[in-house]
């Protein structure tokens, strides 16, 4: 049975279009309004409140908790001090990505790991023989993303501590409406933003406090559609969309390594042991076959393709998540997995897996679009991610 998140009593009355989406066994609003544009604009210009409670969350505790996570993640977890957050993927024995998420170090021997898919079994199996326990907190911990240029003002108004000093990918403990929460300076929008972690039972109080505190700043509850546009602009991956988890891939070619997903920076090959290291070392030596890059579609080319039919360019109303072929000189060299019109950049952008030979920034490629029921190719340029990265994200 699908259930509402801990915030359902607050989000349901707001969801005017009854536009719900399934996420990990819960329903969350796709958009609260009849369209998501207003909610997207809140993310980029004021502040948005997004219910991300369905994220899988695991509490890892014990004297070997750090070693366990260092074994599982490709990142160097020994460098994740208390109060720090790390993003990273984790791989199977063959170096293919199983999932990715953020790791919060809450204490010397206490961590919280988020993931897109269930990972309890993998974590427990990896913990065998180590003094570490893994607990699935997915249902008991609620989470809100507070994202946007004014997020700091909203949060400062709502909680008892000063967040001016909370740096990017750091966390702190505070109270909102008297409820103890963990606040991490993280998010899925590539903007200034925070994620707030709390006991599910206190969800209403925290929601109400934030909404009241956000009123002067135009805080707007935002749904997943708005978030999806923002995360593509930020060049952030979505599991099952931009990559298929290795443990669910039916065939080998559907799996991806961190290198192939542009996550090279997360792989610390100098660590002596982590799951998949041998395979990743070998892959690094020979060079990955694929790269995940950004594509910027050429406006002139779009105009020409649609112009043939006497139409202006037809832009996607929401972010799409299908596999779309990418060509160079008539040969397929890859595929795009997510794309959207970026209202902020005024560009049509996409994330694409490209064969390494065609993945250099600046390479001219063509992406398939369907114009008036016909398959056409629109010229595009390979670009670096993220597409949009405001200074305020880190400042």
């Amino acid at each position: 049975m699908l259930s509402g998140t801990p915030f359902h009593s607050r989000t349901a009355p707001l969801c005017q279009g009854h536009n719900w989406r399934r996420w990990a066994g819960y329903v969350v609003a796709s958009s609260y309004g009849l369209t998501h544009d207003h909610e997207y604009q809140a993310i980029r210009s004021s502040a948005a409140l997004i219910d991300v409670s369905p994220l899988y969350k695991y509490a890892i505790r014990g004297s070997d908790a750090e070693r366990l996570l260092d074994r599982v993640l490709t990142r160097d977890v020994s460098r994740c001090n208390v109060g720090r957050v790390m993003y990273g993927p984790w791989c199977d024995e063959t170096g293919k990505v199983i999932d990715d998420g953020t790791l919060q170090r809450l204490g010397d021997e206490t961590f919280r790991l988020t993931s897109g898919e269930p990972n309890l079994r993998w974590l427990c199996e990896s913990a065998q023989g180590l003094r570490a326990t893994v607990e699935d907190d997915s249902d008991t911990i609620a989470a809100l993303a507070l994202q946007g240029p004014l997020a700091r003002h909203v949060l400062g108004n709502a909680c008892d501590s000063d967040l001016m000093d909370l740096d990017y990918f750091r966390l702190t403990f505070a109270r909102i409406g008297g409820v103890p929460v963990t606040i991490s300076r993280t998010g899925y929008t590539g903007d200034l933003g925070y994620e707030i972690w709390l006991e599910a039972s206190a969800a209403d109080t925290v929601w109400d406090t934030l909404v009241a505190a956000g009123r002067p700043f135009g805080l707007t509850p935002a749904g997943i559609l708005a978030l999806d546009v923002a995360r593509i602009e930020a060049g952030l991956l979505l599991i099952n969309v931009d990559y298929i988890p290795a443990n669910r891939a039916l065939i080998e070619s559907r799996k991806s390594s961190p290198f192939e997903l542009g996550l090279d920076w997360t792989v610390r090959l100098e660590k002596s042991h982590f799951i998949g290291r041998d395979a990743l070392l070998a892959e690094w030596q020979r060079g990955p076959e694929w790269k995940l890059k950004g594509l910027e579609l050429d406006w002139g080319s779009l105009e020409r393709v649609y112009g043939e039919f006497g139409l202006p360019p037809q832009l996607p109303g929401v972010a799409w998540r299908t596999s779309v072929p990418v060509y160079v000189q008539g040969q397929q060299v890859g595929y795009a997995t997510s794309g959207t019109w970026s209202p902020t950049l005024k560009k049509y952008i996409a994330l694409a897996h490209l064969r390494t030979a065609h993945a250099d920034t600046g390479t001219r490629v063509e992406m398939e679009v369907t114009a008036e029921h016909q398959r056409k190719r629109v010229s595009a340029r390979v670009v670096e991610k993220p597409f949009f990265e405001p200074e305020r994200k880190r400042a």
């Binding site: 024995e93 023989g129 180590l130 042991h273 290291r277 041998d278």
Partner: protein
């Protein structure tokens, strides 16, 4: 910086001694570390009671690998094997019994008193077992096939194995392939009608196994005990001076080649650096560095106890945790005032010189297992006894005898209770009571009694779960699947770390073959 040793061998069991000797013979500086006070592992003879020496672990062998005997010149180091004739005596609960001899004709004569058709079939049965045994021996004499190693030397091994199988002829090939997965009961159904004969043979299909004779694959377990080209059924060898003397021989051979053996040195863990074995640390904290580590410990102990789990992949560790270790044996050693007098047995002591098996029929064995299946000690256990002092009087004071008895089934994990002193006494009592049904003078003849429960066997010899084979010898855990599929060739996921014990191909028993192949692998890796 160069290490003081090329290779450190963890555990001085007989396979470890063989490996160490071969490596030293090839010029390596080898250090063996043994936690117990003596080298030899389960080859252990101790004077448990004054004047009475007992084999505490293995109490017989069927065949030492001939190249090991020759290459290590074991004869010059004191190897003195005592072939037993008869091979086995199976007393009947009604008195009398069946004796099987090394000479098939003599056995056939003995069988004829029970069944002329069984007697007529005995020569053919001997031939069939020999054919299958010789084939297994040819498989055992080589490192296993590795199906996962495409195009490597493994491919040739596959062809070689197929050729040897083909050489059995169409009928032989069919017979062998049919036998391997059979129950030993059905194998007996194919050949014999005499309960006593069926029980005496079938017992070998369950010895050390957590299975009854009606379990699939027990025919293979029976054949495993016959992996030899010699035409003998239930062949048994002992060692003059007890099995410990064989340990001393192997130790002498190893030391003659320059192996340094330290006893009383428990290894706490293997050092792994950058995916490579780099040395070991003893429980007292001493660190000994070496680029090559060979573990004679079973795979569970090696991978789960001696190595930081961080260094191994979770899937590999899962496979190791799932290796079936099932201890079902206990040992009862009796110091006897006089020889057992089996009811209606022939005069003299001739029939007592081989193995003595209390397994009067296959149903008896199955019932004995039924108890163990539910975690209970068999009410009427299967016993495999030896009286080595008959052939080797040095083991007991003049006129007195030692009798060592493998008692089965004594499950390592009891469903109701634990292996405490009361259970230990219960085990001893049941064993003596069972013997008394066949040889009523035994209880009165017992001067001393020593009982080793499965947990004792585990702690004494490091046999995980009390499993005497370092993992059950079932068809899914042998050959290229031993200890686990993909890692059957003595190497491990950690470079420079090898296995050499009975947990590797071809498995349990006193043969020296796992140690021999491990040494061969290491030396070819070193080239």
């Amino acid at each position: 910086m160069s290490d003081a040793y090329d290779t450190v061998v963890i555990g001085a069991g007989h396979n470890g001694l063989v490996t160490a000797a071969y490596l030293a013979r090839a010029g390596q500086r080898v250090l063996m570390l043994e936690g117990r006070a003596h080298a030899g592992g389960a080859l252990s003879t101790e004077e448990t009671f004054e004047g009475f020496k007992f084999d505490l672990g293995a109490h017989r062998l069927s065949r030492l690998h001939p190249p090991v005997v020759d290459d290590l010149k074991l004869a010059s180091h004191g190897l003195d094997l005592l072939p037993c004739d008869p091979c086995v005596f199976a007393p009947s609960p009604d008195g009398g019994g069946l004796t099987l001899w090394r000479d098939p004709r003599r056995s056939a004569e003995a069988i004829r008193r029970f069944s002329t058709s069984d007697a007529a079939r005995w020569p053919d049965f001997t031939d069939t077992v020999t054919l299958a045994g010789a084939f297994l021996e040819s498989i055992y004499a080589r490192p296993p096939i590795d199906f996962l190693d495409e195009g490597g030397p493994g491919a040739l091994t596959i062809v070689g194995t197929a050729l040897r199988l083909r050489r059995l002829g169409r009928r032989g090939m069919m017979q062998l392939l049919r036998m391997l997965p059979m129950t030993v009961t059905e194998l007996m159904d194919d050949w014999f009608e005499t309960d006593l004969l069926r029980g005496a043979l079938g017992a070998l299909g369950v010895t050390g196994m957590s299975q009854g004779p009606m379990a699939a694959g027990t025919a293979f377990a029976f054949l495993h005990q016959h992996a030899s080209p010699e035409p003998a059924v239930r062949e048994t060898l002992r060692v003059r001076g007890g099995m410990g003397a064989l340990a001393a021989t192997l130790r002498a051979a190893a030391e003659a080649h320059g192996v340094e053996i330290r006893t009383g040195a428990w290894v706490e863990r293997v050092l792994v650096e950058d995916g490579r074995a780099a040395g070991i640390v003893l429980v007292d904290g001493e660190e000994i560095r070496a680029g090559r580590i060979v573990s004679n410990a079973d795979p569970r102990r090696t991978f789960l106890d001696l190595i930081d789990p961080i260094c191994l992949e979770p899937g590999f560790l899962r496979s190791v945790r799932n290796i079936r270790f099932r201890g079902v044996c206990a040992r009862v050693n009796l110091a006897l005032e006089e020889l057992p007098r089996f009811k209606g047995a022939p005069g003299g002591d001739g029939h007592l010189r081989g193995s003595i098996t209390i397994s009067p029929d296959l149903e008896y064995l199955e019932r004995a297992f039924d108890d163990a299946k539910y975690g209970r000690l068999s009410r009427r256990p299967y016993l495999e006894a030896s009286i080595p002092s008959l052939a080797d009087p040095t083991l007991a004071p003049p006129g007195k005898h030692v009798m060592s008895i493998l008692v089965q089934y004594a499950p390592y994990e009891l469903s109701d209770g634990v292996w405490d002193e009361a259970m230990r006494d219960e085990l001893g009592d049941r064993t003596v009571a069972t013997l008394a049904e066949y040889a009523p003078n035994v209880p009165g003849a017992v001067l001393h009694r020593q009982v080793l429960t499965p947990p004792d066997i585990e702690s004494e010899f490091g046999l995980t779960g009390g499993d005497i084979y370092h993992g059950q010898m079932t068809l899914d855990q042998v050959y290229f699947m031993r200890p686990i599929p993909g890692w059957a060739r003595y190497q491990t996921p950690i470079a420079g770390l090898y296995l050499c014990g009975a947990g590797t191909h071809p498995g349990g028993g006193v043969t020296g073959i796992p140690g021999y192949h491990a040494a061969g692998t290491i030396l070819s890796d070193t080239d």
